[in-house]
């Protein structure tokens, strides 16, 4: 059974096609700059050279049509007929409190995704456009929504509420929702499989470190706390996002610098984090490069970045009364041997010991990087949110 996974952004559309019986990725691609005369289509196929071309794509409906046309292209495509696509799984950033699991998309689900525009103004409207475009071209194919927030719906009230007047939660839904849920779920499941232990017996801290970054405490297979909050700004220090700060700083700088709400929002989301401290970049690789050349601000930025991750790991170990496994994923988590080393170096009190040799292996495959004597397993697991979306879509259809 072939399942198409779609991640629809405001001016982009990413797609992957899976053969689910084998979970083989048949093709993946992305369409960027939708809405322009020079939209870019890039397609990657296993073992073959990437195909890249530009064409006029003015809206998402055209993007979906181009994608389907490509999938069935005589020479370059992988399908004989679009009817081979049995379902479409969509990545949806915000499912609010309504969605605890993957859900078949119907009119009611669409209405609820729309209701959440306020909480995810950049993402949910773009996802809806993707859903509508698929509906237009594949009207009889079931579509499934897989929500980034769903995995975190198991977080207990004591962890998802903020200690502010409860009426704000009741009136506006002000609470922790958490993000990167599909990634945290995927890597925690894989960790259990790799360790050969049932999920129910494991306490895992997963660190998704990419351009955005979050940590999750996964106990018995369920998220019980996560560092991102009502928005993806809370928690760890990130590339350009501040993460946790004293919220009283905001009114203070608003008046000192005579800023508007938009300016302070942009400052916290786009000018802070590694970029704000290093003054160089929000990209860990570039900051690391500068630090290796002795740049003091780059060194400080990395120190802060690492320190804040370590504090969360400590906090979540406390929240779960110990941990069995620590998982690194995301671009930075998977590739930065230096950061993994720095983080683990100061966590030996947990009985956690990094095997330097395994940590330094220039490998992109999932692996254990702790020593044999370490009482906590440390793993690097490349995330694959699209595969999990395909799996969830597939199992929902099977149940049906």
């Amino acid at each position: 059974m072939k399942i198409l996974v779609i991640n629809s952004g405001s001016s982009s559309l990413k797609f992957q096609l899976y053969e689910m019986t084998t979970e083989k990725l048949l093709i993946k691609g992305r369409i960027e700059r939708i809405g322009s005369e020079t939209a870019i289509i890039t397609v990657e196929r296993d073992g073959q050279e990437d195909v890249r071309f530009t064409q006029e794509i003015l809206h998402h409906s055209e993007a979906v049509r181009s994608m389907l046309k490509f999938l069935t292209h005589t020479d370059l495509g992988v399908l004989d007929n679009i009817l081979e696509i049995k379902a479409v799984g969509h990545r949806i950033v915000h499912g609010g409190e309504w969605f605890r699991s993957a859900t078949l998309i119907n009119a009611d689900v669409q209405q609820k995704i729309r209701h959440l525009y306020d909480l995810a103004p950049l993402h949910n409207p773009a996802h809806m456009v993707g859903i509508q475009a698929v509906l237009e071209h594949l009207p009889h194919v079931p579509q499934v929504a897989v929500f980034d927030t769903a995995f975190h719906q198991s977080i207990p009230q004591k962890a998802y509420l903020y200690p502010i007047p409860l009426s704000l939660y009741k009136k506006y839904g002000v609470r922790r929702y958490g993000f990167h849920g599909t990634s945290h779920e995927f890597v925690s499941r894989r960790a259990a499989q790799l360790l050969g232990k049932p999920m129910e017996q494991l306490k895992i801290v997963t660190c998704h470190l990419g351009n955005g970054a979050s940590c999750t405490a996964v106990s018995g297979g369920q998220s019980i706390d996560t560092s991102m909050g009502m928005t993806p700004l809370e928690g760890l220090m990130m590339g350009t996002r501040s993460g946790d700060i004293d919220s009283a700083i905001i009114p203070y700088i608003l008046s000192k610098e005579d800023l508007t709400i938009n300016e302070v929002n942009s400052m916290l989301n786009k000018h802070s984090g590694l970029l704000g401290i290093s003054g160089i970049s929000g990209d860990v690789r570039e900051v690391q490069q500068a630090a290796s050349e002795g740049d003091a601000r780059a060194l400080l930025a990395l120190d802060m970045y690492e320190y804040r991750i370590r504090k969360y790991i400590g906090a979540y170990s406390a929240a779960m009364n110990g941990i069995d496994a620590l998982v690194f994923t995301g671009g930075v988590g998977e590739n930065s041997t230096f950061l993994r080393y720095k983080i683990c170096e100061q966590l030996t009190y947990l009985g956690l010991h990094l095997d330097s040799e395994k940590n330094n292996e220039p490998s992109h495959i999932e692996r254990l990087i702790s020593t044999e004597s370490s009482s906590v397993n440390i793993l690097v697991i490349p995330t694959n949110e699209e595969l999990l979306i395909a799996q969830k879509t597939f199992s929902l259809l099977e149940e049906d």
Partner: protein
């Protein structure tokens, strides 16, 4: 009808601000001015304003680049034929605006919406000699266009429901602004009321009741304004304030709209506020009060 490409005529303060706003929302903008010199100066000032915003963390370098990639400065008016909407933001003179709209009608698409950013002039009069009066509408952006959430949508007597609906949807959904519908009357709501406040501040100043700085402090702190009335006038441009007051006075006839004599003197002396660096207060080129 979806509006994707917009022509903005006039690279002055409002034209630049409107272009920046449209480009930031992902629309393709043709910014037109009659001379290459005016256009180049407009682009230079737009660049300075965006740099200032980066300094204030409102924008990133990437976003600035994106905004510039969406704005094409042009002097050839024939290029406006591609636009779904044209917003004129030339100086506030009835005859100039009327001739411009009439001229545009000779070559633009019949369905293109023609919007005027006028603050005080009559839409009906502006559209008087036009063949398709129903597509003329007023879009009064407030300064600074990118930051003020409000737009007044002005209906002339002949503006069609379709023109109004498309424009309202454009303002609210594409530009993410709050709109109010106003009917033809000089100064509409915002200019009419704010001009009176500014003029009264000028009377208070000329009568020696308080200094310019104190008058502004009183209104800013006392009533929660972002700027006091005199700094506000400096930022609008004292020539624009005078033009608005003159229009209000001549249209409505009430003495309360008669511009204070100090305003006239300052305009004659070319102390126009922010745009010349000197008005009631002094300003840096980046727009900071010194």
């Amino acid at each position: 009808m979806e509006i994707k490409k917009v022509g903005v005529i006039g690279a002055g303060t409002m034209g630049r601000g409107i272009s920046e706003l449209l480009a930031a929302k992902g629309l393709d903008v043709l910014l037109l001015d009659k001379s290459q010199d005016k256009l180049s100066e407009g682009i230079r000032l737009l660049d300075a304003s965006l740099e200032k915003q980066i300094e204030r963390w409102a924008l990133t370098h990437q976003e600035k680049k994106l905004i510039f990639s969406k704005i094409t400065p042009v002097t050839d008016e024939q290029l406006l034929i591609e636009c779904d909407m044209i917003i004129e933001a030339i100086s506030e003179q009835l005859e100039a605006k009327r001739l411009l709209l009439q001229h545009l009608e000779n070559f633009i698409k019949p369905e293109t919406i023609l919007a005027s950013n006028t603050a005080t002039l009559s839409l009906t009069e502006l559209a008087e000699a036009m063949a398709y009066k129903e597509r003329v509408i007023g879009l009064h952006f407030l300064f600074p266009a990118g930051q003020v959430k409000l737009v007044e949508i002005v209906r002339g007597l002949k503006t069609s429901d379709q023109t109004f609906q498309v424009t309202k949807q454009f303002v609210e959904q594409t530009l993410d602004k709050t709109s109010i519908q106003v009917y033809e009357s000089p100064g509409y709501v915002t200019t009419r009321i704010i001009c009176i406040l500014i003029n009264e501040a000028l009377h208070t100043l000329t009568e020696g009741v308080a200094t310019a700085a104190d008058i502004d402090e009183a209104i800013r702190i006392g009533y929660g304004f972002h700027y006091g009335p005199l700094e506000m006038a400096d930022r609008f441009g004292l020539d624009s304030v005078l033009a608005s007051m003159d229009a209000l006075f001549s249209e409505l006839g009430d003495l309360k709209y008669r511009p204070n004599v100090l305003l006239k003197k300052m305009v004659r002396a070319q102390h126009l506020g922010l745009k010349t660096g000197r008005g009631f207060f002094s300003y840096s080129e980046g727009g900071e009060r010194l």
